[in-house]
Amino acid sequence: MVATLMLGASASARAQGVRPYTVVGDAIPASLTGAPGDPERGLKIVTNRQVGLCLLCHSGPYPEERFQGTMAPTLAGAGTRWSEGQLRLRMVDAARISPETIMPPYYRVDGLTRVAPGFRGKTILTAEQIEDVVAYLKTLKN
């Protein structure tokens, strides 16, 4: 059974710049931008503590990064464990995979409380950045 759902397609979401996407089962099969991302840029986003924030919680195959988190599993092998579409949904809104997750919703602006003024109405990453990260995660094979 394939459940198809339109998300982020409401007028308000569009006004805030969130592009519509389609969830199929536990994945978003199509690129948010219509184009593939750049894995090298994705790596830079993932290892940047102000942009991707991933290494606050995750560790990964980065022996040169001294401070990595232990609040989440390693990113190593993510591209083996998950399909591109699954990785995309995980990035866009991880709570759709596990409702109680602490992983932030990187491409969602609805349903958040008391967002600081400088971040209000903005997604953590842009659609382009999500695609770059997804392209990078796909390369993490083990």
Binding site: G69, P105, L112, I124
Partner: protein
């Protein structure tokens, strides 16, 4: 009817237990640890030795302020409260405390300012000002080594509950709750930092990162900032409720004021 109840009751109990464990995974009292225990030997030594504790200077400032005549009443704290070592012993350990006139809890900073305005007829000291931090540190020192003993009764319970709700609520662009870090992931590493359980045992304290003394509200602002959540205004009821809940959560733990943290 009776049969249905017998079926429903255990199911309900299971559901309620599941909700409770999801909603609040509280740290058992015996497993609580102060952030002190996670510090390096050097930083612990700095806190323990008054001559190396950078907050000691503020305590001395506070002692001087205690005897300074202020406001149009031209009264000092000491004129009414005499020797702080006696009159203020254990006081900070039970704040925030319920104020009958305001019908809500006040934190120790607000309580000091109430005496400033009502008893000294002076202007209130701004939050995070040198003088308010100094007086708070001086009073806090009079509770050092004593157990945290905020009062949970019919007056304060609704405010403890309000604080607990703020603590458990997801907030900010990162959609995290205090509980996500300080209960569910305490002891884990956030990047390089070991997450503390978040007990307010040492405030105001000297934080090496700030290079200054700071209040508990300043610390909470920092955490909200990290969550990309909108901080409350200094002195907001939400902060005081949160402070009260945190102190209640740390009940029985030892006051360390003035502590040192990295």
């Amino acid at each position: 009817m009776e049969k249905r109840l017998r079926l429903v009751a255990p199911a309900l109990a299971i559901v309620l237990a599941a909700i409770a464990s999801l909603a609040f995974a509280e740290i058992p009292l015996s497993q609580r640890r102060s952030g002190y225990e996670q510090m390096s030997r050097e930083v612990k030594a700095m806190q323990d030795d008054d001559t190396s504790n950078p907050a000691s200077l503020s305590v001395l400032d506070g002692e001087a302020l205690w005897t300074r005549r202020e406001g149009s009443a031209q009264k000092s704290c000491a004129d009414c409260h005499h020797d702080a070592e006696t009159s203020m012993r254990g006081v900070s350990a039970r704040y925030p405390a319920f104020d009958a006139a305001k019908r809500r809890p006040l934190d120790i900073e607000q309580r000091i300012n109430l005496c400033r305005t009502e008893k000294q007829q002076a202007t209130p000291l701004p939050f995070e000002s040198r003088d308010l931090l100094a007086l708070t540190a001086y009073l806090g020192k009079q509770s050092r080594g004593m157990p945290i003993a905020v009062i949970s009764d019919d007056d304060t319970k609704p405010f403890i509950e309000a604080g607990r709700q703020i603590y458990a609520r997801r907030q900010g662009q990162l959609n995290l709750s205090c509980q996500n870090c300080h209960d569910d992931n305490a002891g884990q590493k956030l990047a390089g930092v070991e997450l503390p359980q978040g007990h307010p045992t040492g405030y105001p304290l000297y934080r090496l990162e700030w290079q200054s003394l700071g209040s508990l509200q300043r610390r909470l602002r920092n955490c909200l900032f990290g969550m990309r959540a909108e901080p409350y205004a200094y002195g907001a009821d939400e902060y005081v409720d949160l402070e009260l809940f945190l102190m209640w959560r740390a009940r029985g733990m030892t006051v360390e004021t003035p502590a040192v943290r990295p």
